[in-house]
Symmetry: C2
Subunit: 401 residues, 2 copies
Amino acid sequence: MKKISGSVTAPRGFLAQGVCADLKKSDKKDIALIYSEVPCTAAGTFTTNVVRASCVDITRQHLANGRAQAIVVNSGNANACTGEQGWNDTLQMAQITAQSLDLDPHDVVVASTGVIGVNMCMEKIEKGIRQAAANLSPEDGHKAAQAIMTTDLVSKEIAVEIELQGKTVRIGAIAKGSGMIHPNMATMLAFFTTDACLDNICLEKAFKQAVNQSFNMISVDRDTSTNDMAVILANGLAGNPVINDVNSDDYKLFQEALQTVAVTLAKMIARDGEGATCMIEVQVKGASTQENARQIARSITGSNLTKAAVFGKDANWGRILAAAGYSGVEFDPQRVDIYLGEEKMAENGMGLAFDEERARRELEKDPVVITVDLKSGSQSAVAWGCDLSYDYVKINASYRS
Amino acid sequence: MKKISGSVTAPRGFLAQGVCADLKKSDKKDIALIYSEVPCTAAGTFTTNVVRASCVDITRQHLANGRAQAIVVNSGNANACTGEQGWNDTLQMAQITAQSLDLDPHDVVVASTGVIGVNMCMEKIEKGIRQAAANLSPEDGHKAAQAIMTTDLVSKEIAVEIELQGKTVRIGAIAKGSGMIHPNMATMLAFFTTDACLDNICLEKAFKQAVNQSFNMISVDRDTSTNDMAVILANGLAGNPVINDVNSDDYKLFQEALQTVAVTLAKMIARDGEGATCMIEVQVKGASTQENARQIARSITGSNLTKAAVFGKDANWGRILAAAGYSGVEFDPQRVDIYLGEEKMAENGMGLAFDEERARRELEKDPVVITVDLKSGSQSAVAWGCDLSYDYVKINASYRS
């Protein structure tokens, strides 16, 4: 697998654009469009929040047949909690996009992100979509990545290349997410494109697993949002023999590459967590089940006290163990070892006399790596988060204004 | 019911003291002792964390027979994650206390709060306990309240008086808790005394319900601790006819008074949340079950985004609805009304055109009252929390050092 430049327009046959439709107070880009020249196999995963934006429900319906050809996204307005008008506005976004690109509206994926509870200005949206459609380019994946940002400090994109049966297959992706990030999709948007040829069953399985090991393992603030989604379009233009067996080598190679792309983006999101000064990587080992390892890892990345201690460069391993303890998983605290980077802080649930200076140096790294060994099995998991700083509070105390 | 002055020493026959044993870096009090002149009926509730301090397990054992006569507490060291030595140190605290007061060690309740993972200096502890025991006084409940504080800014105490069958019955209590506060007991200690005469079944039921509607409904940071406990001692010296029927009027009067005391202390804890500038009270109405109402109320008080918005005086009701949505409770978002104080912000899941200035005034009150009406039943619940400020981060970035 090789990292290549570009993102969603790196795979063959994909065009994109990002424009400014004045939905935000600033003059930043706020409408993104991604388009494949040919119909695609498609799959998606969505927020688990009971309160969902209409784009989540409508996109889920549109993807029910496993195909799509375009993705339209607006930032600046989540179009959530906006009732019937919000629902109609989402349908209209699909219709305008379909009309501009000569598609069936059901082949359009719609996503929104931004403030909750305010109706959208459809005049601006329509103008923006038409402008993006008229300027689609195989070079402008980066502009699409910029157009989906909200409080993100950096745009997030990546592309990779693998070889399958002598054919070059590419995967590209963009993502956004900074606050309101928590396992199970939270104001997190990610859009993947690939020119790989594979059937729906293989695409869905590969994508679901990739999302589960990446976006579902990051946490910024435990707030799960109304609008999250991750979607992948596969247009088959690489010309590789169709991947239709989840036990095949080609499937494994593709899934591995897809998961690497997803994990890379997920880590970018964690690192760019609102107000974050560093990323935190939590490795849980020696668990009896993988689910237990996942749950403990996410409980630690979600602990305000642990996050604040990392921000303060305070080697407070007791908070790490306490966060594992309230994860809901049963385990024997008296077997647990805890490491901060290379430094062993606790053994068998008890503190060791560690070197404060070396512990501090581990806390000055980015990422800060915390390892928890339960010594009760062979299963493991990794989760990513970030520290809790003054700036998180600052950003979220005045988001709407 | 009448509020009276004092706290744990207000009921007849209770003595207390708080002393400084140099367990903290500052010269603040750190050993509290509460003693009843006669044996008491006793009950307790404890943290649900898998990682528990030895005092939690040992006190649970001591209360298994439903009786106790003294409570010893140290602050400055949680004696958690301290292995066998920690266990032995807790046993020794009970023994020293028992010896000083001529009791059986099993009649002593032991509690600790402070830093995790550091062994205690038993020499200092012993000296402190003996000093407190030698100076027990019916006037010094206040000193005990001070001695159990950690990052608390104010000591928390209350006493009330009710009349049962012509006899005056008193209930007094002290509590501590500031950070690491979350439903199901989290570095939260509360000690109740009463001179009421009642049997174990009635005491346990009344206390469990009071804790459930008070301490289990507050959240500062969703971090559940290793050391929480709430304990009540009832010595019967009021001379009221024994309460032995949970359906009697006397039981109801006593339970109501006990619950009022517990709710008052719980609100004091929420208001004194680390870094808090105001208390948040969340009222959930119209739920189909009380458990649903409780879960939604606690999800909102636990939302970092909601807490930061309240700190920033930003009427971001969308975050409130989103936090309800990820509570785990199924409900119809399109029926939900949301109020900020008197101001209706959203109706049927949609934003209303509200007066920003009036909303801001509601956010400047203390407590800030958020009401969520699900309009799907008749059950309700109230939860308390606080806003998320820069100071929360500051306090927790440097707690250990």
